[in-house]
Amino acid sequence: MTTTKFIDIDFSKIESDRMRLNVGPQHPSTHGVLRLEVELDGEVVTNVIPHIGYLHRCFEKIAENMNYQQVIPYVDRMDYISSMNNELPYVMAVEKLLGIKVPEKVEYIRVIMAELNRIANHQIAVATFGLDAGAFTPFLYLFRDREYILWIFEKASGGRLLFNYFWVGGLANDVYPTFKEDVLNIVKQVRKTNKEIEELLIYNKIFIDRTANIGVLPADVAINYGCSGPVLRGSGVKFDLRKDDPYSIYDRFDFDIPVGTGEVGTVGDCWDRNIVRMREMEQSCRIIEQAVAQMPDSGDVQAAIPKKIRPPKGEVYFRAENPKGELGFYIISDGKDKPYRVKGRAPSFVNLSVLPEISKGYLFADLIVILGSIDIVLGEVDR
């Protein structure tokens, strides 16, 4: 399938007065409080300067004054739409420092929760991406489904958005009795809606025209900029920490890594980044099904850990595959009950830095689509 080339004019050759447009911090499609200083030549973007920090609360400084367990709620608030995925690398980093192993059941529940949250995150990403392109209805279909996932989280942890569910050495509490059935129902529902979304949005001619061949990010540039997650995989790089640097029990499951193939345009365009997210939801469904089948019914949900967590002196960098990319925590312990230094390597922060590189020379409407395809959460960018 090929797309029509609409304009064969080289915009860079047409010179006119430049206009500086301030997009944000309050703007419908900056996905939070991001401010973009855009230089426009007519409708063509000639430069973009992102200004971030409007949500900065210096989580790293706060973490230095909290003990290890108390940091978890702050970690939740980094990427607030995939909190389970944020907690996972943090607790695993601390567990690695402590040198403890969590019970089998905990590992399975963590994986199921993380994958459910990955689906929820990708649903928001695809929904808001559609909204950026002007399609409102798929947005509500996906939000309806996300609600079902949030119900499971609410039943299990008590929170809809910020869970504080994964604790160092285990979980806050065990899951409820009908957990497995609920999860399998969700998987069914997600597959059904995804099929609908593919027909309604993904393969819509207008949507393809809007997103294919736009914001092309070549693989080498993506790696050099440190991009990860769907942004990197959209450029055709088969890199997923769940496979390439396995953590938890991901090596026990059979799943594929979807990559961008340039199905309707160029490899690494906005459409590819979006379709990677769609396909990843399917892979997450597969992981969940396998995990539910293998999960032991009984068992402890807390490993035996000392009451006060005092890791030995040392440092650890632990990374995990967040829905948005590689989320790493660099924790330095000085032997006390509070971390000496916690650094969060936020995927949105790094992915956003590539925006000026890939949006030059496209039209202003494309800039919004490109920004939507990167899928940032400002809570994580600003930390």
Partner: protein, 158 residues
């Protein structure tokens, strides 16, 4: 490649600028390098086909009681190996060469370290604050940081 092999290659090439490999689990092994040679070492790490570190995972500043430290976590997409570099600089003259030209991801990470720790990355094309307002005073992640009473007439402590 293991940490030891990578360390050996670097040691052969750069001699005394590369420190000993420190390995005490569960911490990741790391190598201290001198600030003067950092840029060349990073270039070697990226461009040597045996090492092929094309991905800078993380760049973190750390404030120790005596000095400041910058930690580089590197990864190779093709060879799937990791490496950790550390650079220690004194507090009164915290200057580290910028590696932004080698890995573009260092651009914002270095701005962050400058913003929060006051580490100056020499050769960075646009070393300005990234999270805090451009006219903010002080570097909050330093252990001796005292937050100002007011900022433009607004009370800061909340």
């Amino acid at each position: 490649m293991t940490y030891e092999e990578i360390h050996k290659i670097l040691k052969e090439k750069f001699g005394d600028s590369v420190g000993e490999l420190v390995n005490n689990p569960p911490s990741d092994p790391y190598v201290e390098v001198s600030a003067e040679k950092l840029f060349d070492i990073c270039l070697e790490l990226r461009d040597n086909p045996e090492l092929d570190f094309d991905y800078l995972m993380c760049l973190s500043g750390v404030d120790f009681p005596e000095n400041l430290q910058v930690v580089y976590h590197l990864y190779s997409m093709n060879k799937k190996h990791k490496f950790v570099l550390k650079v220690t600089v004194p507090k009164d003259n915290p200057k580290v060469p910028s590696i932004e030209r080698i890995w573009r991801s260092a651009d914002w990470h270095e701005r962050e370290a400058y913003d929060l720790f006051g580490i100056i990355f020499e050769g960075h094309h646009n070393l300005i604050r990234i999270f805090l307002p451009y006219d903010w005073e002080g570097h909050p992640l330093r252990k001796d940081y005292k937050e100002p009473e007011t900022y433009h007439g607004m009370r800061v402590p909340y």
